[in-house]
């Protein structure tokens, strides 16, 4: 095999391995497995006021997510169904420009799209979560 061919094949191998590693990391970061092993919590010393809306179409998810987010230090001040209906991907609306809190919240939920929300000062919220049908709650292990 000629030297240029060897260099080309080596280069292709590096690209393939890099793509594989990046792809696996992206997949893992968005999977429930990531959430299972993840202990991300709200930023230290900050009160992050969150509203949780269920847009998944699966009954009870907002309540379960509320328990999880409170355990991780987020101040969930309200939860219920999303009056705007269902969606696939979980969405976080950041009203008060708290990108770190929004990113941590997304990690706790196993991945979410983050968007800047319109001003919500009248309700005193920092973030709204709209849980999509792709959200997978953590398994609660209980053996009495």
């Amino acid at each position: 095999m000629t030297r240029p061919r060897l260099i080309l094949m080596g280069g292709l191998l590096v690209v393939a391995v890099t793509a594989g590693v990046v792809g696996a990391r992206v997949w893992y970061a968005r999977s429930p497995m990531a959430a299972l092993g993840d202990t991300t919590s709200a930023p230290q010393g900050q009160r992050v006021k969150v509203e949780v809306l269920n847009a998944s179409g699966v009954s009870g998810l907002a309540r379960r997510a509320t328990f999880l987010l409170r355990d991780r230090g987020f101040d969930v001040v309200g939860w219920g169904n999303d009056p705007r209906g269902s969606r696939d991907e979980t969405l976080i609306l950041d009203y008060t420009d708290k990108p770190e809190a929004a990113e941590r919240l997304a990690r706790v939920l196993g991945g979410a799209q983050v968007e800047r929300g319109k001003d919500s000062l009248d309700r005193g919220l920092d973030l709204t979560v709209k849980l999509g049908s792709g959200y997978r709650p953590l398994v609660e292990v209980f053996h009495p």
Binding site: G60, F67, R70, D71, L138, E140, F142, P144
Partner: protein, 183 residues
């Protein structure tokens, strides 16, 4: 040397429990002792709560043949036999307090005819702080027990039923009957 705390939390010699299970038992019993003190209940009932907590999982890690032999139950899932097995063992060595025996016998399923001892154990088993889910919510409920014993009991029964349905577990007759007494 054995401290007062150690003897207070001493498991029976026939107990078959892992170190982690022992830690769970101590947390449950500590929670029960704390509620009993805050509620200023009579010494006899306080002792019943303590003993129910200390003994409820004494055979939690015993093998299936022993559990079936003691519980005289060949059909039920093995996960729910340790309470009945421990109660049977306690009865065989002279324990006569009905509230303690019923609390231990039924602690995995619940029972509609329980005295307060059984209800307290059922709550403590669920609300003890070592469990990794609903940490903040369960801590709040545990804190509320001395002020609203029956209200928290109802909530714990409800949450445990919801968990069973969510996880696709079967509902046992006793559990449903218990819910019907508190709903």
């Amino acid at each position: 040397m054995t401290s007062r705390h150690d003897t207070h939390m001493q498991l029976p010699q026939w107990a078959i429990v892992s170190p982690k299970r022992r830690e769970h038992i101590v947390r449950v019993t500590t929670l029960l002792d704390g509620w009993a003190a805050l509620m200023a209940i009579e010494p006899a009932e306080r002792a019943a709560w303590h003993d129910a907590g200390l003994w409820h999982d004494a055979l939690r890690d015993a093998d299936e043949p022993l559990l079936r032999k003691l519980s005289l139950d060949e059909r039920s899932p093995v996960e729910i036999l340790h309470g009945a097995a421990a109660a049977a063992r306690l009865e065989s060595i002279g324990e006569t307090r009905r509230d303690v025996l019923d609390a231990i016998r039924w602690h995995t399923l619940g029972n509609p005819d329980w005295a307060r001892t059984g209800q307290a154990l059922f709550m403590a088993d669920f609300l003890e702080p070592g469990r990794k889910f609903m940490v903040a919510e369960r801590a709040w409920l545990a804190h509320m027990v001395p002020d609203d014993f029956s209200g928290v009991f109802r909530q714990v029964v409800k949450v445990r039923l919801e968990w069973s349905l969510r996880e696709g577990k079967g509902l046992h007759r006793e559990t449903v009957a218990m819910w019907n007494t508190v709903r």
